[in-house]
């Protein structure tokens, strides 16, 4: 009939999306997974004193920061050793190309870089020993002369 209004139901795709309310329990579940990933035991999270959680979190932050710093240090050190090795090769190569004149380059470093106190002490002792040997050699040359 003319003039009659016909209402058409919207297609499913045209319907207003309904708000999905996230349950607080779901949020707690997600946090449980997170806390377990940083070492909080399951029971501690659900039944324990929640004020301890911040210490787990702080410890995790410190550990992560320290790991990043250590990795950075290790990468820097690896670069330094590579640089040293390359320099040694270049020096030896240059010495050989130059007719092997002068003293032969030392080559790659005999010992790792001294980083810890023990390593630094050992390096000092090695250097002192070298100085003594050099001095003794000099005395022998003078005696012979």
């Amino acid at each position: 009939m003319e003039g009659d209004q016909v209402s058409v139901a919207p297609l499913p795709s045209q319907e207003e999306p309904k708000e999905k309310k996230i349950k607080f329990g779901e949020i707690l579940d997600e946090w449980c997974a997170f806390y377990m990933s940083i070492g909080v035991p399951y029971d501690e999270y659900w039944y324990g004193d929640y004020t301890r959680l911040k210490f787990y979190y702080k410890a995790w932050e410190l550990k992560t920061t320290r790991e990043v710093e250590m990795n950075n240090q290790a990468s820097y050190l690896a670069g330094l050793y590579n640089y040293n090795a390359f320099s040694s090769v270049m020096a030896t190569f240059g010495w050989a190309l130059g007719g092997k004149k002068g003293s032969k380059p030392d080559g790659y470093m005999q010992h790792p870089l001294a980083i810890t106190e023990n390593e630094k002490k050992a390096e000092r002792e090695r250097n002192a020993q070298k100085t003594i040997e050099w001095f003794m050699k000099g005395q022998e040359v003078n005696k012979d002369g």
Partner: protein
């Protein structure tokens, strides 16, 4: 610092009320809608009080918990502060558990 608790004795039994992640989840699964606290301010205190039994006294009937709540509320000495303490306990639990850097947040999405 440890979790805030409410301690009292009622009819010869010692009670320690507190919230844990588990008790908050159980409260919700029992029908408590935390988001409605703003509009149901008059009953929210009692709801929290009943829920705070779950952690250490899960066997306590709700009717008994409500009876204790009404009795404490009626006390002249500090009874009216009970709701404040309960909300403080609730907020403390929620914030201590969920407020860290990279907060997952609690939001409604469409």
């Amino acid at each position: 610092m440890s979790a805030t608790k409410i301690e009292f004795e009622y009819k010869g039994k010692q009670y320690t009320l507190q919230f844990t992640a588990d008790s908050l989840k159980k409260m919700e699964s029992q029908g408590v809608d935390f988001t409605s606290f703003g509009t149901k301010i008059l009953t929210a205190g009692e709801t929290l009080f009943v829920g705070s039994f779950i952690a250490n006294h899960p066997e306590t009937p709700k009717s008994l918990a409500k009876e204790i709540y009404q009795q404490i509320k009626g006390e002249a000495d500090g009874g009216e502060a009970l709701d404040d303490v309960l909300f403080e306990m609730f907020n403390e639990a929620v914030s201590e558990i969920t407020q860290r850097r990279g907060n997952l947040g609690w939001k409604v999405t469409k």
